[in-house]
Amino acid sequence: MRILKLQKKDLSPFLEVISREAQLWAPVTKGDKFVFDQVKDFSRIAMNATRTIIPPKKIMVPSFFNMFHFSEKGYQEDFSHITDRILFGIHPCDIHGLLILDKLFSQAYLDPYYLEARKRMLILGLSCWPDEFCLCKSTHTDIIEEGYDLFFTDLESHFLVWIGSSRGDDLVRLSPGFFDDKLTDKDIQTYIKWQEERDEAFQIEINFTRMPNLMELKDKAFFWEEAGAACLACGSCSMVCPTCNCYNVVDKQFLGNRPGQRLRYWDSCTLPEYSEVAGGENFREHKSQRLRLWYTHKLQAYVSKYGKPSCVGCGRCLVTCPVQIHIKSVTDALEGHPVEVFWKKFAGEVSK
């Protein structure tokens, strides 16, 4: 592992050099929020971005893309949406999100659409400071050990830059003059102090180790019905979750001689038709059942296979759900803690 130092003024020139190699994507401002977008003007990059509205999965597996063209000649695969990209400004939680998607999209069978996009994406991480919704310390995703090519830690006057891969090293070698490999004792102390202060800055704490058992024990708890009554079944929680990977597939035909398309687009297990089979039988008719499935996957299912939750603590569900059904309120309810959120007002609406 090599750790280098980069002066703040040298970041833009460095990005300029590497962006000649591939599309550069980074967080930019959108209203009072942030989104990942392709950037050519580096002054647009929001260095202070907290979480983006949609996680970087949208670049690996776009919300909507074509898998195959089809005609009488058969099915021709389509990888035209995949290109060489550099993603700058991705935070540790989102890098962990990608590591989890890596597992989901390569277990048992390899998903070539995801993996090809992943292979052609360089990950340039950036440190961040928690706000009142961040809980990555609880999910142990506040630091990263793998899954990046370069990682920039933002200290007042300069960056410390971790080189995480051979490809990351190649990027540095494109303009080695920007980087200094001699860290002083003061640099190291500054970093330690930064880390200690950041550790103190988290405002949410969740004990995830208890959750698989609590999911089992509270399987029939009343709060699922309350949350189900309030849930709008809008699917937003899945759209913004870095580890939600579900998708739907439809075939589309066009007038004339154009080949048809087999389209793949994001889906959510909270949507009504998600578990519907041919003939209309629905295995999860009630919103409470679908919410329970969502949380089973985050808190229990991934744990049983990989030993950790598939929540990366990004806080997106906390800022997105219109009725406050999110990882904090649900884990609080599972713990039996008092929960004072919007959906608790729905006890009277539960029909049972």
Binding site: G74, Y75, C246, G260, C269, V277, A278
Partner: protein, 286 residues
């Protein structure tokens, strides 16, 4: 690099392989029998599968859906499916003439544990469309008859016209190495040659079973499971030797799209064959 066509077909598990409908004919008002073969003859013969597995079929422009294989791996070359007309995709499939091209990929799923079933009594219980997945394992047992002890078949349908493949089962009734019991809930023809009554009324006709040495395979409409399992528990068949094959919505068949998730498992990877024990300790399985 953008827009360049990259050929990853060899490694793309989503690519449907070209296959032809060799033969298709109706089995009932809304069920059809399909014989399908890969266009590439070598592929047709190299396609290995287990009884109880399923395949994804594509109809050009109408989409892709999972169907269980009704043929037995002990008769390679032709793949057979019993398919009920239900939605857009099956409607389009029903309209295709013989020799039409379709897409096929698979096989997927765990299938029946035929190795563990070796040397055991096999009790196959199917209701209505339950014949679709269980015909595969039934024919497999009959083709490898000396590897199993008793083979018993209970098959129930609502009415004679809905007992699909009934001629095949009438013919099987003449075999001395198969105990074959057929029943319909109600005979509206007046000419039904076998029994009448719901499927559980067949249980008293069973010869004494050795429960520890029996595997019961069940597939049918949801309401059937409840009553049939009660009978099997009465017979003292161990819960992990009661196997059932389940249906779920699937878009990929290979553990990616998420639709068939139940609790912490995927029906497409960990199923579709589950034991009654699995059903008891997982929510929402049946």
């Amino acid at each position: 690099m953008n827009g360049e066509h990259r050929c990853l077909t060899d490694s793309n598990p989503f690519t449907p392989e070209p296959a032809r409908i060799i033969r298709s004919y109706p089995l009932s008002a809304d069920v059809k029998f399909f014989q399908v073969r890969f266009v590439d003859m070598e592929r047709a013969l190299s396609f290995k599968y287990k009884a109880g597995q399923f395949a994804m079929l594509s109809v050009l422009g109408a989409g892709e859906a999972p169907f269980c294989l009704s043929s037995t791996p002990s008769r390679p070359g032709l793949l057979e499916f019993c398919i009920r007309k239900m939605g857009t995709m099956t409607n389009a499939l029903f309209r295709l003439p013989e020799n039409a091209l379709i897409g096929l990929r698979g096989p997927y799923g765990n299938g029946f544990p035929v190795e563990e079933m070796t040397g055991k009594d096999i009790l196959i219980i199917m209701g209505g469309m339950g014949v679709a997945p269980l015909r595969s394992v039934l024919l497999y047992c009959l083709d490898n008859r000396d590897r199993f002890e008793r083979v018993v078949l209970l098959y129930g349908a609502k009415r004679p016209a809905e007992m699909i493949l009934r001629e095949e089962f009438f013919a099987l009734q003449t075999r001395s190495d198969l105990e074959c019991h057929l029943t319909v809930d109600a005979d509206d023809t007046g000419q039904w040659p076998a029994r009448t009554g719901v499927i559980t009324t067949l249980f008293p006709h069973l010869k004494k079973t050795d429960p520890g040495n029996t595997y019961a395979l069940v597939c049918g409409p949801p309401v059937m499971y409840k009553f049939v399992i009660k009978e099997l528990i009465k017979l003292n068949i161990p819960k992990n030797q009661i196997l059932m094959t389940l249906e779920r919505r699937m878009k990929c068949g290979i553990g990616k799209c998420g639709h068939c998730a139940i609790d912490y498992i995927y029906t497409c990877l960990d199923g579709p064959v589950f034991s009654y024990w699995d059903v008891l300790h997982m929510k929402e399985l049946i």
